[in-house]
Subunit: 155 residues, 2 copies
DNA sequence: TTGCTTGCAAATTTTTTGCAAAAAC
DNA sequence: GTTTTTGCAAAAAATTTGCAAGCAA
């Protein structure tokens, strides 16, 4: 169950991290594999998974879980939130300064919880989809309400 | 991708909902199957999945996706948050009144986002695990727990 | 050299699907 | 009766594992 901490720096590990660094699209394991595979044609998907896990354990990247598909990976480890477009599936980073302060760790501590981190997921429609929708459906007494999101997937 | 809306009320659907109603432990599909199976021994896991999907679509339950395992199901559909214990895996409902309005839909709307809903996931250690830990590691100049709590950053 | 890490293929886990039969309406 | 839903088994998708060989330290 518990896997031993990584000790050696390998080309594979390095390339997996490189493939993700600076990327804000939150790619899936397979896309990362595709990228690394261009540089290391002999790498296997299993190794990509193993290295992604290592990086998560080291705290160099994090996992993001959303509905439907598999895990997505994120090189941004600062504490921040995400916006998930229910139309196209894109995931944006949100840096909501004000929102952050409104969570009250004290009240949780009073109830006996020890808080290490938290994550906010906002669901809706992204700019692009909202615009596209406005074009195809000219407004008639307000747009039709979106269906309520009933699925949350987070780490 | 899109499945037709359910039209008929069946014993199976009813029992799947009954098995979940009032349950705050956020069980996995398999546990729900186990429960329903006691009342309807011929039900199949596939049917449980299909009915869980129907219920989600009807808005009577919701899905909760967390790291590691599969989906968990939740009969509570009001907007509220979750606490995930990283020790034992339990998931508690959190009704954080103050936190409720923590996101600022206006600032998101300005950026072009259409927000339908949002959800907060708080990670850490639950009461039970924190207590157990306190027992095994007697405090020496402040508990480990407090140290971890201070990891909380509000930036 | 030592033993961690990789590649490969096979295994696991979780969820979905095709289809004929059963159940609703 | 007609159409939806079920049960079964098989398929799919995503991720993990065993193991011999490869490579970093």
């Amino acid at each position: 169950m518990r896997r031993a901490a990584r000790r050696r720096r390998t080309r594979q590990l390095e390339q997996v991290f490189e493939a993700l660094k600076g990327d804000h699209t939150h790619p899936f394991a397979h896309e990362i594999y595709r990228r690394v595979h261009q540089r290391l044609p002999r790498i296997s998907l299993a190794t990509v998974y193993r290295n992604l896990h290592s990086l998560v354990e080291e705290g160099k990247i994090r996992t993001l879980l959303l509905d439907g598909q598999g895990a997505r990976y994120d090189p941004e480890t600062r504490e921040y939130d995400h916006f998930v477009c229910e139309r196209c599936g894109r995931v944006d980073d949100l840096f909501l300064r004000r929102a952050r302060r409104r969570i009250d760790p004290i009240s949780l501590a009073k109830r006996g919880y020890v808080v290490t981190t938290h994550n906010l997921m906002v669901h809706g429609m992204c700019q692009g989809c909202a615009a596209r929708r406005r074009l195809s459906r000219p407004r008639v007494r307000g747009t039709q309400a979106l269906t309520r999101a009933s699925v949350w997937r987070q780490q």
